[in-house]
Amino acid sequence: MALRDRLPGVRPRPTMGRRLEVVWLYAFPAMTSLFLMLFSLAPFGLWGQSALLPTVALTCVWFWSLLRPEAMAPPVVLLIGLLLDLLGFLPLGVGALTMLTTYGLAQRLRRFLVHKGFATTWLIFTGVACGIGAMNWALVSLLTLRFVASGPVLFQAGLAAAMYPVVAIPLMLAHRSIADPDRA
C-alpha cells in the first residue's frame, strides 16, 4: 500500500480498478524480474547465453532494491533466488543467498546512492557484481566439494557490468511512467 493511503486526507474512492492498479504497481518489480529471468532463457541461440540468467536476476534485484525496497521485499528476493537456483542448475540455496546479500548491500548503500547519478550507481554495481560472483563461486565450490572453473564467474561479472544499462534504463523509464508508485 502506498504511503499516502495510510495518511489521513482526501483520496480517490477505492474502486476495483484502483485496487488493481495498486496491486499492479506493488507487484511490478517482482513481476518484471521474474519475467526477465524467464525471457533470458528463451532460445535466442546466443553464445554464452547461460550467463544471462544470473546477470538479469542480479541486476533486477539490485535495481529494485535501491528504487522500490518496499516492493522488492526479502521474501520476494528469496523467491527470485530460489528460481535462479532451479532454472540455473545451481546447488540449492546459492542463488537465494547471493540475491539476499545483494538486497542487503543495496539497503546499506541506498542512502548514499540516492543522491548520486546513474554512473556512480553503475560503477558501484560493477563492484557488487564482482563480489557476488566471487561469493557464488565460493559457495558452489564449497557445496560441490571441488574448485569449479572461475572463468564463467569473471565472464558473468563482466556481462553484468556491461548489461546494467541495457536492463536498468528500460526499468527506470517504466518506473517513471507506467509503474510510478506516486500514482497510487
Binding site: 532463457l41 528469496l78 540455473g88 540449492l92 539476499l100
Partner: protein, 286 residues
C-alpha cells in the same frame, strides 16, 4: 481492521531479512540432503517452461537464421571456393566408401555375420540451454507420453551429443559430453586402445586413462566403446587434437555450440546412472 503498532511493524520489517537468510541456509541444507526433491522441483519448473520455449524456438530460430545468412553473404566467394575444393575431396572419398561398403557386405555375407539390431530413435528440438554457468546441458521439449528414459543417448547428424540425465513429463535434460561431470568410455579408432573422454566445461573434452604404449595420435578418430554397457560401440565422437601444453583433447564431431535438433536413440542399454545420480535411488522413476 486491527493494525499492529508502528514499533511492531518496524521490528517485523527489521527481522525479515535475517529470517530470509536463515531460510536460504535451510534451502542449502535441503538441497544437500534431498537431491531427488530438488531434481523434481527443477523438472517441474522446466516442464512448465518447455512448451513456451518450444513455441518461441521457431520464430527465434528464423530470425537467427536470417542474421546468419546476412553475415554469411560477406564470405560467400571464399566459402564457395573452399566448398568446391572440399567437394572434390569428398567425391574421392565417396568412391572409396562405396567400394568398401560393397566389399564389407560381401565379407559379412561370407562370414554369416549377425547384424546389430537397428536402434529406434525419436527426434527432438533443443529449446534452451539447461546448463547454467557451471554445467553444459541442453533442454529438449517434447509432447507428453514421450517415453524417454534416463541414460538414452543423444546424437546430432554428425556425432555423439550426450546422455539424458533428467526426465520430466514435457522436457528432457541432456548432459553434453563437454560437461565437467561427463565421462564416456571411448576407443581410439586406429589403435583400438580404450580411453575415457572427460568433459571439462570447455569446448574440447580431454582424453584420460589410455592404455600404456598406445598414445593417441593427432587427427585419430575417436568412437564410443561398449564397455560398462552405457553406450553402443562405434558411435562417432570426434577427432584427437593436442592442446598447446601437450594434452590430448577431442574435437567433437557434433556441433555442440549450436545444437538445434537431436535424435535420441534407445539402444536398450541398462548399465547407466549419470555421474551425479550414482548415489540416488532411481528405481520407480522414469
Amino acid at each position: 481492521m486491527l493494525r499492529p503498532s508502528i514499533q511492531a511493524r518496524h521490528a517485523v520489517a527489521r527481522l525479515t531479512l535475517p529470517v530470509m537468510f536463515i531460510a536460504a541456509f535451510g534451502l542449502m541444507l535441503v538441497g544437500k540432503v534431498d537431491t531427488v526433491l530438488v531434481e523434481r522441483a527443477r523438472t517441474l519448473v522446466y516442464d512448465l517452461g518447455a512448451p513456451i520455449y518450444a513455441a518461441l524456438a521457431e520464430p527465434l530460430g528464423r530470425i537467427n537464421k536470417a542474421v546468419t545468412e546476412v553475415v554469411d553473404l560477406w564470405g560467400l566467394r571464399g566459402e564457395n571456393a573452399r566448398l568446391r575444393e572440399e567437394n572434390e575431396h569428398l567425391r574421392r572419398w565417396q568412391s572409396i566408401a562405396l567400394t568398401l561398403d560393397a566389399e564389407n557386405k560381401r565379407l559379412k555375407t561370407a562370414l554369416r555375420w549377425i547384424p546389430d539390431p537397428q536402434a529406434s530413435y525419436v527426434t527432438a528440438r533443443v529449446v534452451a540451454d539447461a546448463g547454467g554457468v557451471y554445467a553444459k546441458a541442453v533442454l529438449l521439449a517434447l509432447g507428453p507420453n514421450h517415453g524417454l528414459r534416463k541414460g538414452q543417448i543423444a546424437l546430432d547428424e554428425r556425432g555423439l551429443v550426450g546422455r539424458i540425465t533428467e526426465v520430466g513429463s514435457r522436457s528432457v535434460r541432456v548432459l553434453l559430453i563437454t560437461d565437467m561431470n561427463s565421462r564416456v568410455p571411448v576407443v581410439l579408432e586406429t589403435s583400438r586402445a580404450h580411453a575415457i573422454l572427460a568433459g571439462t566445461n570447455g569446448p574440447l573434452p580431454r582424453l584420460l586413462y589410455w592404455s600404456e604404449g598406445t598414445v593417441p595420435k593427432e587427427g585419430e578418430r575417436v568412437v564410443t566403446s561398449a564397455e560398462a554397457n552405457a553406450f553402443p560401440a562405434n558411435l562417432p565422437v570426434g577427432v584427437v587434437r593436442y592442446s598447446a601444453n601437450g594434452n590430448p583433447e577431442v574435437e567433437p564431431d557434433a556441433q555442440l555450440r549450436a545444437i538445434d535438433i537431436v535424435r535420441i536413440f534407445d539402444y536398450g542399454l541398462g548399465g547407466f546412472a549419470s555421474p551425479e545420480t550414482t548415489a540416488r535411488p532411481t528405481a520407480g522413476r522414469r
